[in-house]
């Protein structure tokens, strides 16, 4: 199958987010492929390894620096990538991002599009759903198991949403978003890392997509970011394990009224 995976460059989840003047301080941040997108890449690779043939293409909207993130995805085994790399298309919201990605997908051939159920930076959980709607494609969200019909014209998806599980069926092509549990992403091999440098990455600008950046107006504006409210300092309860535990239970009942 020809598979496209939407990926986003985000700060490593082990990164401490520092805020200055209402913005994230990007110095010293390690960047990764958003973990839910990585499940998407892994699933795409496994589909083609199992079925034989086909191609896995990464699609990423991001600044020039996102090239490094794209190479990480290629090192995992994706065949090629499209980098929508145009400063005029950045800095929007979920609605503009979805329009850009939809415009790019219109120029691509695919049987299925995979994406993460959300990116772990803005946690919007909107872009993939919006892209599907803009392209008039069916969408199945938050999938933890994916199987295809014999004719590859439909898919059966086990979903996990709000702690519940259900099974959804969809015709193909479709957009399917990955939830934790879909698979266990592989690590890149040395051969993969070396080979990634030679894989084709196309740079697309607004004009390539037939988009007028001036017409892409975002609906929302991020006014500022702030650190989360600080927690008051806690206390360590002294004494050996038994004494401290007895005191803990007393404090939880009498002071915190939490039990």
């Amino acid at each position: 199958m020809n598979l496209v995976v939407l990926i986003k460059r985000v700060p490593d989840t082990e990164t401490r987010i520092q805020i200055k003047d209402g913005k994230v301080v990007t110095d010293g941040i390690a960047w990764i492929i958003s973990p839910y997108d990585e499940y998407g890449i892994e699933e795409a690779l496994r589909i083609n390894e199992k079925q034989g043939g086909g191609k896995v293409t990464l699609l990423c909207l991001g600044p020039e620096e996102a090239k490094e993130t794209i190479r990480k995805g290629l090192a995992l085994g994706a065949d090629d990538a499209v980098h929508v790399n145009d400063p005029a298309l950045l800095g929007g919201d979920a609605s503009t991002t979805a329009k850009v990605l939809a415009a790019a997908l219109k120029k691509m051939q695919y049987d299925l599009v995979l994406a993460g159920k959300q990116a772990v930076d803005e946690d919007n959980a909107q872009v993939a759903v919006r892209v599907a709607e803009l392209l008039n494609l069916p969408c199945v969200n938050s999938v933890i198991k994916l199987d295809f019909s014999d004719d590859k014209k439909s898919a059966r998806c086990l979903r996990e949403v709000d702690g519940d599980r259900d099974v959804a069926e969809t015709s193909l092509p479709a957009i399917i978003t990955a939830q934790q549990g879909l698979n266990e992403p592989r690590y890149p091999s040395l051969k993969g890392i070396m080979g990634a440098k030679k894989k084709p990455v196309a740079d697309w600008k607004a004009a390539d997509l037939g988009l007028d950046p001036a017409a892409l107006t975002s609906k929302l504006e991020t006014v500022r970011l702030d650190p989360p409210p600080a927690r008051p300092p806690g206390k360590k309860i002294p004494g050996d394990a038994a004494t401290a535990t007895k005191e803990l239970v007393r404090l939880l009942r009498e002071e915190a009224k939490a039990i």
């Binding site: 609605s95 930076d121 759903v129 702690g163 519940d164 929302l220 500022r224 927690r231 309860i237 939490a258």
Partner: protein, 325 residues
Amino acid sequence: MGNILIVAEEREGTLRKVSYELVTVAHEMAKGLGGAVQAAVVGNNVSACADSLAKSGVAQVYCADSPALAYFAPEVFAATLVEVTRKASPSVVLMPATGWGKELGAKLAAKLDWGVVTDCISFQVEGGTLIFKRPVYAGKAMATIKAKSLPVIASMRPNIFPPAPQQSAAAPIEKIEVTAVTPRAKVVEKVKKEAVDVDLAEAKVVVSGGRGAKNADGFVQIREIAKMLGAAVGASRAAVDAGWIDYSTQVGQTGKTVAPQLYIALGISGAIQHLAGMSSSKVIVAVNKDPDAPIFQAADYGIVADLFDVMPVLKEELKKVLAEK
């Protein structure tokens, strides 16, 4: 001047509590923005839900009740909600920030070319402009988001706002015909869960284990403590990656974000991505051998000890205290 429309979420014929929380938010919003508070419920056999919504203090209820809505089919639900928005002409649509509400909100927004502010925890109206606060980076930062134009859709995080109480007066209920679309993607069956554990995201108390649990057996006592407290069981990424417990229990930036009344972290060091997922819990307890573990910086109460020395005493003491009531 548009109305404020809330979209209620039902589960097996009962409205989820967040639906009534949205009514509270809508009334607050209407004070600054004007307009009437209206509500919509879409599902199968939801007439009791509509009756309950009608008595929650709203001015109008729209109800789409059809076997076509028995299972989640995004295309049918979204098309039906488009029809509701035509009748309600809202300036704001409020959805629950649940998996269901977030997906439907995004789909509805794409159809109408509106913006969506996901997972809001507060808002204010400044000179007719709506401004929201929402956590980003799983809570490592707080974003202030302005709606540049209306209408806008906002999904509101559950358990933040008080639910609107039931009243004696009932608002009129208007039936909405379900838009006839043949869905290409739809849920075909619900899957019974093997475990009867408390749902992590909604639990009032969470008891979590980490690397300190040593192995899968270490979670036996953690589960016992959780059961005594009516709590959900959580885990750190280290415990999940080691295969000691199912990934669905993972708390953190790539797992579940939780904000219970009480979070008990047993043998969890407190990696940044874990802290992001639980730091907004009301009361945090940490037990860890390492006095320098970062989890203690987030904890209201800390015990520096091996969790296997703590857990037996904790069970005994909880048994006594919980029996007292």
